[in-house]
Symmetry: C3
Subunit: 271 residues, 3 copies
């Protein structure tokens, strides 16, 4: 666990270059958040350079929040370059299931790119994996539901998943991390989920073990949100304080504050 | 009037989903502003999903600030879907008249989509309605000019209009609301006009009477600006404080602070 | 020098309209920064209106941060209109050299548009000018290196250049201004370099002497960063405080704080 809580140090030391093909809404906040944690962001959407830019990078983030067909083409070119180079690829299936087009494009990305981790809320991750039945329980924020969605989705997709919500669940099907940090104000600022996906990409670039890197990113992020929320009760100032916290929070604060549970699937299944 | 000043409660209760096809400059601030008032934003520009996304929504906002031809196509698809579903559509003709292209695209939108309300400054609303002569008086912020522009524009367009400026005028040609809230710092932050249009969309989704919903949105917004400006005299901190105020200001504060005048057209015309 | 330090007054008096064709990451911060200094921003990317919008403006800013081929087409149309009208054009070659596409597009812009000033970091300005050899020293922030890059680049390009970094160098090949203001937090907020390029455009619109306008813009900007950094040590609050400082800092503060050195090339070359 000290390994996990200190991963932010590795990120700040390596200063990984994270190539983001992401949506227009969050592109600025994502860049600022990556700078704040000590990573280096680059954004480049053009099909003519997406692969070259991914080839310069230490990790790739694909986010379909305001997708277009040409942007998805760029994602696939970048994703294939990232796969060839062997750098991690995080996929954030924003709003998948909301429209047939969005679902088709998400499938196209998964069909063409080897994704290291999928990060979304329970509805997004579940729908991406085709788990329609499970979705009835999505609005309930019970930990059990999130865990069930995450476990079924990772099995269906064959990819480790991060399901975020009131509790965050990280699993590759054989191990589960549950993190109970964060703050409701995160849901009042646009792009906090999207930025987390980019932060996960930065942590993956700095630490080889995928589940540990994910847990390190999600735990650090949730702790930073709690630190930011201790200074404010409104979303405007929270948005600013959160960037400050991403910059200031160190591994000691993470170690003191993280609420991380680690389980193996046998244990989970017998519950 | 208590109906109007309490409409923010209905918005916070309903949490309407507002689909925004808007410009790149303000897309983030718009999303954060909608979250702050208790609504739910969604942004989706692709022609392949614009109609489907509008069909999920409770209101639609169309804003041509950084328009492209394909984005206007998406707006028309979304607008037609919104019309078919019967949800309100707000049109913000940013910079109409600045270029022939922008004017042509604005006309194309109005020709294809049944718009519930147009929101802009006096120049934009006047030019959209083809009122070239009136435009000479646009720079003057006298209430009379705004009212004249608004009344002529609503008559010409056959659509209720909101003309914002030092005073805000809301009219459908038979009734006029004048609101004298707000703060000059609003003009020093990009996207405050655009966000207001999205806030109007959220209020329309929560309250059927169009003019009342518009007055409720504009009044609430102006009061929130005054609350924010009481904490700062510079635009960076104002931008943040304004999001906080949109989150915190409640109907009591609106009731205590709103400067709303209601007139019928007969009265106006005899002035 | 009092001429240079008081140029912000001329900007605030003229309120120049700056047309920006810039990247998605910084488009909001650029608009807010231009408002803060007292200029008026307009953003319009569509090829159908780029020329018309430039023709309305007092200055043009071209930034290739998230370029696409159609956006570059719009830049060239706007650039040619700006040249014909005789308004200044600032070119910010973000990330040039990072991919072959980006380099080719930057060259295409320079081949088609008469640029008044290029602004970038030492790597960008050097690579734009084809100075591969010099680039080995780019990471070192020594003033000598920046000056060498700037002098060689301006000679190669035939355009005045601004090389920003720990020290900022402004030169047209016959005169050099070195400015030693600014703050490291500027490197932790995305778009501060891009915004500076737009601020330079605003200063060029308000003052005919190119090198003086550049020095005035860069000096004012660096002083504002120092003022902002005196209030905070983290990037979220710095980003906000910087907009406030751009709004509040006046020529007296600039005069008291600027660290400006002026040299003629003979002197530089004999060092």
């Amino acid at each position: 666990m000290s390994e996990i809580t200190s991963l932010v140090n590795k990120v700040r030391e390596k200063q990984p270059l994270v190539h983001n093909i992401t949506n227009q809404v969050v592109i600025n906040y994502t860049a600022n958040g990556l700078y704040a944690i000590g990573a280096a962001p680059v954004m480049a959407n053009a099909v003519e350079e997406a692969a070259d830019m991914a080839n310069n990078a230490d990790a790739l983030l694909l986010n379909i929040g305001t997708l277009t067909t040409v942007q998805v083409d760029a994602m696939i070119l970048a994703g294939k370059a990232a796969n060839q180079k062997g750098i991690p690829v995080v996929f954030d299936p924003v709003g998948v299931g909301a429209t047939p087009y969005r679902s088709a494009m998400a499938k196209k990305i998964l069909d063409n790119v080897q994704v290291s981790v999928v990060r979304g809320n329970a509805a997004e991750v579940g729908l991406l994996a085709g788990l329609k039945a499970v979705m009835r329980g999505v609005d309930a924020e019970a930990q059990g539901d999130h865990q069930a969605v995450a476990l079924q989705a990772t099995k269906q997709l064959g990819i480790p998943v991060i399901v975020t919500g009131e509790h965050d669940v990280i699993t590759d099907g054989s191990k589960v991390f549950v993190i109970e940090n964060g703050h409701p104000l995160l849901t009042k600022v646009t792009g906090t989920g999207c930025l987390l996906s980019s932060v996960v990409a930065a942590f993956l670039a700095a630490h080889e073990n995928v589940l540990e890197a994910c847990a390190g990113a999600v735990g650090f992020y949730g702790v930073a949100a709690e630190v930011a929320a201790s200074h404010t009760s409104a979303p405007g100032t929270f948005q600013v304080a959160f960037l400050d916290a991403l910059y200031h929070v160190n591994s000691d604060v993470v170690t003191d504050t993280i609420k991380l549970t680690e389980r193996f699937i046998e244990e989970v299944e017998t519950k």
